[in-house]
Each structure stands twice: as C-alpha cells, then as structure tokens.
C-alpha cells in the first residue's frame, strides 16, 4: 500500500485549489471581456446604424465618429457592411464601403493576417475580399509565402481573382494544390468575362476539374459569347466534356444552327442523345422533328421520354405525336408518345 503523508496531500490539494481559483478567475475575466465586447459592438450598432445609412445612401456627411476604435467596433461595422453588401447592389455604396475599408479597416486586417490563430487569419481574408481592400494585396502576396493552409490559399486565389486577374490565371496554372470542381466554380464565377473566356483558349492544358468547372460556369453565366466556345468543345473525344458542353448550350438556350448537333442524334452514348433531345427544345419543330422522331424510337427510355416531352412542348406537338402513334411500328415509342400525350392533356 502506498503511503502518503498528510502534509503532502494537503500541499497537493492547496496547489489544485489555487489552480482552480486561477482558472475560475481566467474564465470570469474572459466572460467579462466577451460581454464588454458584445456591449460595445451593440452600442455602436445602435448609435451609428442610421448614421451609416445616411452616409452611404443619402449622401450624408462622413463623420469621424464612424471610424472604429477597437475590435468591437470593427465587428459592428462588419455587420453593417455585410448586411448592405449581401442584400443591396449599389455602385456608390460599394465604392464608399471600399474606400472606408481601405482607409480605416486595413490596419486591423493587416494585423489579423499575422495572427497565430487560423480562424482570425481566415476571417481577415474573407473581409479583404468582401470589402475589396485592394491596398492589402501586397500583404496578401507576402502572406502567401508563409506556411498557409489549403483553405487560406483558396481564399487568396479568390482575392487575386477579384483584384489581379492576370495573377490569378498564373496562380491556378502553376498551383500544386488541386481543388474540387465546385471550388473552381466558386472562383470562376467571380471572374470578369474577358478573363474567364481565356480559360477556353488553352483548354487542354487545364486539369479535368478546371475544364469541367469552366464549362459549368459558362452555362451559369449564360452569355452569348460562350456559345462558340462551347460548340468548339463538341469536337473533343472526352465524353464528359462533350456532354457538359451540350448541357451548357442547352442552359444558354440559343441554338443558332442545327447542323453541329445533328451527328449527335446517332451518338453511341445515351447521355449525349438525351442532351440533344433537350437542346432541340430551343429549335423550331419543323427543323428538329425528323431527328426527334428518331430519338423517340431510341433504345433508351430517358431519351425516348425527353424526345416526347420536347415534341409535346411545341404548339403542334400533341398533333404530331398523335400522328406518330398512327404511323409508327415501334411499340415502345408509341407507348411513350401515348403517355406524354395523356400527361400533357391531363395538365391542360
């Protein structure tokens, strides 16, 4: 049995009690600090929200009382700015926010970038992008040379894509870090059209994820200038590129000529044939009907179903389908046409 002297035990208890006491004091102080922080932030919000509104929207005078004194007031200003930027578009307001942030908030975020805590650094990077603090771009480039996480690097790319797009294109070319498609999409959607379109110039040099993200972003941006670029991708061997390009063209919804799409009616891949059946929705039925009839007799259920839907959406579509039912010998196609007609008439 271990023998412990009473004096030793008492010493241990006293030490533990002292530690507990110190820890409690620390927690209380932290709590007090947090309360004070929240109180200062809320007081600023209460006192100056209207002032900010007048300055930003009504051309009211700028007052030095708006300049933050301390972190809590910066947090309040962040809340005000993000409320405006998330909900309202107004060039004048955005310019004023940018000007103010570059002037009065820069020093806070500059300091945050040197913080040891990842969350503080990330928050600073987010704010630099949101508030357009371009005066911190050099600091960001210096920051990139330090040991940073993948997430921080991604935020840096976002900052470059906003402020220095040439640098951004260079960085994603040389980057050893590979992001997911959705992450690349989040970056590309911020690019100006003139820069974004350059992704299609040297298309083969990009990784698959970048290629796919570029095609999908073009579909989301829906600009006419991307139609030609997407049409060029239809010649690629890679099926995924072909299918996504077709999907992008369908999303943009402007089919200026039918010829480039006709060979795909006989494609080996049902996904391609399905996309063609969808694309023909944007073509007058008189030009597309012969091909849609062919797709209506397709082996694949999805293709047949889409072809029938596309025909039925036209004003003369139902009559065409009824005519088809009388003349066709393909029982599967007839059933699909019948089902679509019934459903369509049910909707009406």
């Amino acid at each position: 049995m271990i023998e412990l002297s009473i004096s030793f035990l008492l010493t241990v208890i006293v030490v533990l009690l002292v530690m507990l006491f110190l820890f409690t004091i620390y927690l209380l102080l932290q709590h007090e600090r947090e309360i004070r922080f929240a109180k200062t932030r809320d007081t600023y919000l209460q006192n100056y929200s209207q002032h900010w509104y007048n300055y930003l929207f009504n051309d009211g005078n700028f007052s030095m009382v708006l300049v933050p004194r301390g972190r809590a007031q910066v947090a309040a200003i962040e809340i005000i700015f993000s409320s405006y930027l998330k909900n309202i578009t107004n060039e004048k307001v955005e310019h004023k926010i940018k000007e103010f942030s570059n002037h009065y908030l820069k020093k806070f975020y500059d300091k945050d970038l040197a913080s040891k805590r990842w969350s503080i650094r990330m928050n600073a990077l987010y704010r630099i992008a949101d508030l357009q603090i371009d005066e911190l771009l050099d600091t960001c480039q210096q920051f990139e040379k330090t040991k940073i996480s993948e997430e921080e690097y991604f935020q840096l790319l976002k900052i470059y894509s906003i402020f220095r797009q040439e640098l951004f294109i260079g960085k994603i070319k040389e980057s050893s870090i590979h992001y997911s498609e959705s992450e690349y999409r989040r970056l590309f959607v911020l690019l100006e059209d003139s820069v974004f379109i350059r992704l299609f110039e040297d298309f083969n040099s990009w990784t698959k994820n970048i290629q796919f993200a570029a095609i999908d972003t073009a579909a989301v941006k829906r600009h006419m200038q991307y139609i030609e670029k997407l049409k060029q991708l239809l010649t690629y061997e890679e099926p995924e590129i072909k299918i996504r390009a077709l999907k992008g063209l369908y999303e943009i919804g402007v089919i200026d000529e039918i010829d480039p799409y006709v060979p795909f009616v006989a494609s080996d891949m049902w996904e391609v044939r399905l996309m063609i059946a969808k694309i023909f929705k944007h073509v007058p039925l008189e030009y597309s009907y012969a091909y849609l009839e062919q797709l209506l007799e397709d082996d694949n259920w999805w293709v047949r179903s889409q072809a029938a839907k596309t025909i039925a959406e036209n004003r003369e579509g139902i009559a065409k389908l009824q005519q088809f039912m009388e003349s066709s010998n393909d029982q599967y196609a007839i059933e699909m046409a019948q089902e679509t007609v019934v459903r369509r008439q049910g909707i009406k």
């Binding site: 919000l45 929200s49 209207q50 509104y53 929207f57 809340i79 005000i80 409320s83 405006y84 930027l85 998330k86 909900n87 309202i88 578009t89 107004n90």
Partner: protein, 294 residues
C-alpha cells in the same frame, strides 16, 4: 313650339340614373376609370317635325353603331342631348373615339345635316351624382358661341380617392429591415398611402393579424425566415378567400430557375434575387400600383 323628339330604341335619362350609381361605385371597387360623354346638336335642326325626327334617329343609330358592347348610350329628356358611359376607359381613349366619329360625320354626305359638340367627364371617384353630372355638362354645352365639333371637359371628378395600403416587411436582418422600412416609408405613390410595419420572422407576422383586414396589402418577405418561412406564409395568404388583395414580393438569395419557378407557381407577384438595387425595387412597386388605375 318644337315637339320633343325622343328616339325610342335607346335608353332614356330616367332609366340610366340607377345604372350610373352602380357603375360609379364599381369605379372605386374595381379601380377602373369610367368616362362619360355628352353630345348636343350644335344647332337646332330646321324643317318639319318629320325631318327633325329623322335627324334625331340618325344620330341615335349612328352612335349605336359606333359604341362597344360595354358602353351605354342614352338620350336625355330634353331630346337634344345624348350621353354615353364608357366603362373602363380613360379620357384619352374617349377623345380618340370622338375624333374618329366627328371625322366620319364631317366626311360622309348622309350626315351633312348633323353638327355636334361634346363634353367629356372622366370619373375616378364617387363624389358625383347623376343630376350634378348632367347639370355641369349641360352648362358646358349651353354656350352657343362654342364652335361646332368642339370638345369641352368637366375635370371635377378625375382625381381618385387616396387608398390605404398595408405594407408588411418580413426580414430577419435588422439592418436591412430598417433600410426597407425607410425606403417604403419615403416611397411616394400617387393616390396610395403606405402603412408600413416590420417583422423579423414569419410567426410574428401571422400573430399580428394585420393581414386579416380588408385593405390592399403589400408583403415584402424573404423566402427563408425563422419560425415560419416565406413559402409557408405565401401558402397561407394565397389560401385566404380574399387573396387577391395581397401583392407579394419575395426576396431570395437563391438565384436559380427552380427557386424562381417554385415561387411564381406558389403565387408570388415578384421574385427578387438578392443583392438587388433598391431603386429597381421602388420602380417595380410603382409599376405594380400604376396598373391599378387606367
């Protein structure tokens, strides 16, 4: 003394009075302008009773052939005035109508003995009774020096009454909610007064019960809200028996066709993707209200 000549195949003054009172009230309820025109023969036709009778019938037949099925033609008891109620028509349309028929009357040989003058009254409120309307128009047309084919105007009833509109802003973000409140409080829409109230979540809006009053109600809300979300509120409002009184604008951060379609199919009048331009929102609201009156 000349005998009064009344065309028996069109409505007469005493028959029309009751109709006028109903139509006048319907102007307010449906917010559709009505315009009344009175014609008077510019000079008393000369000749025998038979000839004057013929002119009278000719005018009645001519006007009957030119009006639409929604217009109501009648003759006044004095036999030298005719009137037409143009429903759902503003003064501009009626002036165009008058120019057209006057041009025909001046051109066609068969109407050469007819010379008319007219007076127009645009009605957008219910503060006029039939007798006063007749008196005012008759006075306008009584002046013999007034040129033939001239068009006079009675402008006393053209201002529509002020209508109170309830505006409910349902937005979680306090700062943006305040911005919307300020915007709508300062928004000046002719003939409508906006009574603005704000709510931070769907439940408090429903609890307030302001939506149960009979006023026209403009609801500006986010699609995602705490406690009761925007789509639920939309559903509740559109299920109400008098759902047409609601003008619903839905704001959303989701810029997708699916979300937009879903909202329109659910019954929103406008779907606005955030962030948006406040001036654009104001312009849309103004257009929405401009559609209420012709």
């Amino acid at each position: 003394m000349n005998k009064l000549i009344i065309a028996e195949d069109i409505m007469q003054e005493h028959e029309v009075k009751g109709y006028f009172e109903i139509l006048r009230e319907s102007v307010i309820r449906s917010r559709l302008t009505m315009t009344v025109v009175f014609f008077k023969l510019a000079s008393s036709p000369q000749g025998t009773d038979i000839e004057r009778n013929q002119v009278n019938h000719q005018i009645s037949a001519f006007l009957t052939s030119k009006i639409r099925k929604t217009d109501l033609l009648f003759q006044l008891a004095d036999g030298v005035h005719w009137g037409i109620f143009f429903l759902q028509s503003s003064e501009v349309e009626v002036k165009a109508f008058l120019k057209r028929i006057f041009a025909i009357l001046k051109q066609e040989r068969e109407y050469q003995q007819i010379a008319l003058k007219a007076s127009i009254t645009e009605i957008r409120n219910n503060s006029v009774n039939f007798e006063t309307l007749l008196d005012k128009n008759k006075q306008k047309l009584a002046n013999d020096e007034q040129p033939i084919w001239s068009i006079q105007q009675v402008t006393d009833y053209r201002v529509q009454p002020m209508e109170q509109v309830k505006v409910s802003i349902i937005e979680q973000n306090a700062i943006f909610r305040k911005v919307l409140e300020t915007t709508f409080t300062h928004l000046d829409i002719p003939h409508f007064t906006l009574d603005v109230a704000t709510y931070e979540d769907g439940y408090s809006f429903l609890q307030s019960e302001t939506y149960k009053t009979g006023h026209m109600h403009l609801v500006i809300m986010n699609d995602i809200l705490p406690r009761k979300n925007g789509l639920e509120i939309l559903h509740i409002l559109r299920e109400m028996p008098n759902e047409k009184k609601f003008i619903i604008y839905m704001m959303s951060e989701r810029n997708s066709e699916g979300a937009t379609l879903n909202a329109y199919e659910g019954g929103v009048d406008e779907f606005i993707v955030k962030p948006f331009n406040l001036r654009l929102l104001e312009a849309k609201i103004r257009r929405t209200f401009a559609r209420f009156w012709l």
